[in-house]
Subunit: 260 residues, 2 copies
């Protein structure tokens, strides 16, 4: 059964896009068939794998717009292959207009889930990179997903933000949009073991959530190589295969595969 | 004349909230009367100054909701004083509901601008901390503002995001929502002079935008003290007065005051 993983957290800059790209690469390395979907109008996932969101057509915007307008659509037309073997559905800036037009669409929370039905069987994992919000695009991702991965930067503001995304997940379950939605776990990102802050926030997160929500091991350490890998249009695994970051995402991918 | 400064950038985690709090503190230190408004449902500005967004009432949500429902409103009821002398209007999570209800409100872009009319004369500077999006809350901030400050982290994805916010500013001008809206400048944040990345991205930003948009000097260097100051409920200026971060924000505040 295809696993659809939403990578969501409304706090900005915590490593959602970085996690989507690097998990896609790590899962592909482990022999999984992977599709990564860029559901953020910023198009960072698209840029991270070396494409230009202003130039590509069609993108995720194309079938979503068709669905909203009651036209036939095919997300399969918007699938591109990356150099590292996984596939992506890119984004474009106009995606932000979809969020507004979804508001008056019938069954507006399930538009993405409907689109994915056609292509699910081709993949073992579908990863969805979300924008930093809890709006209708994210709700569509949570409704289409089998599980959610929540990246949290080991800093105070990000840790305090965990309640909001967890409460949105609970709402999606309660309102029967997706009663089976599972929290796959929290990934601790940008951890700097030399600082007290990382230790304190990590302990606080484990105390607050550790009993009910898995916390992936190991934390991903802060490294400038991540930002550099973006410029190179590559995952950290392709850019610096033996780095702590690469090893961490490989380990997290193994844990994800191990759980059904 | 009161200067209303929106601190906006759709890329997440670039230092919008950090800039709002520290500019508010630096301007206050220089004798200005300052109000900081938290226009982000996450409530990070509210948390950064030591308040709890779940506990405070009223907040910015209260007068906005009243305006949307055609009831009388008074933003003055939602003003609180901080330990450092500047005032804030806090946020609460329900603010995200306002964004949806604004869609069908008459003159929906000007709701915040109307609210600020009543209190503007009490302040020299009003700073508005925006959420990481280009939705209606941000459009309200851009419509109410006299100028915009755009924080950009010195990393590739953030730098690429500059076009989107600048094009939203241009749209707000062109559609006569706020024809006089000025870009006060770009603040380079989380700069790490030891890395090539910071130098390369800084040069790219200066080349791309330097001819038309001021770039505040100096860049704000990356330092764990910023995240620590949040836990202490203080600005960096109160937490570590002689740090590079404090000096940088003082310098930026002086440049802002110097320009009329
Ligand atoms: N472990 C890490 N160490 C250092 N830098 C990192 C790490 N992970 C990500 N980054 C960098 O931090 C920045 C923010 O990461 P990213 O863009 O993935 O976050 P995001 O949550 O997707 O942001 P947004 O909320 O805007 O979508 C990027 O420049 C990225 O390259
Ligand atoms: N110069 C800096 N050096 C190191 N850390 C910083 C710096 N400026 C801000 N930070 C930290 O980086 C994180 C992100 O900053 P902040 O929350 O201000 O960004 P933001 O743009 O407001 O995020 P969002 O998009 O979620 O609103 C915070 O934990 C903050 O403490
Ligand atoms: Mg992202
Ligand atoms: Mg913020």
């Amino acid at each position: 059964m295809t696993r659809v993983i939403a990578i969501a957290m409304q706090k900005g800059g915590v490593g959602k896009t970085t996690t989507a790209v690097n998990l896609a690469a790590a899962l592909t390395e482990l022999g999984q068939r992977v599709l990564a979907i860029d559901l953020d109008p910023q198009g960072n996932l698209t840029q991270h794998v070396g494409f230009d969101p202003e130039q590509l057509h069609p993108t995720i915007y194309t079938p979503l717009k068709a669905e909203v307008e009651g036209q036939p659509s095919d997300i399969g037309d918007a699938i591109y292959e990356t150099d590292e073997g996984f596939h992506i559905v890119p984004s474009q800036p106009e995606l932000s207009l979809i969020e507004v037009s979804l508001i008056n669409t019938l069954s507006r929370e399930r538009v993405l889930a409907t689109l994915l039905e056609d292509i699910k069987s081709h993949y073992d994992f579908i990863l969805i990179d979300c924008n930093p919000s809890l709006g209708l695009l994210v709700i569509n991702a949570l409704t289409a997903a089998t599980g959610v991965v929540v990246p949290i930067q080991t800093e105070y503001l990000a840790a305090r933000g965990a309640f909001m995304i967890l409460s949105s997940i609970e709402t999606v379950r309660r309102k029967k949009l997706n009663p089976q939605l599972k929290v796959e776990g929290i990934i601790l990102t940008m951890a700097d073991p030399r600082t007290l802050m990382t230790g304190e926030v990590t302990t606080a997160i484990k105390q607050q959530f550790g009993a009910t929500i898995p916390i992936f091991e190991p934390p991903v350490r802060r490294s400038v190589r991540f930002a550099e890998s973006v410029v190179a249009g590559k995952s950290i695994l392709a850019y610096e295969p033996t780095s702590q970051g690469s090893e961490a995402y490989r380990q997290i991918a193994k844990t994800l595969i191990g759980r059904k």
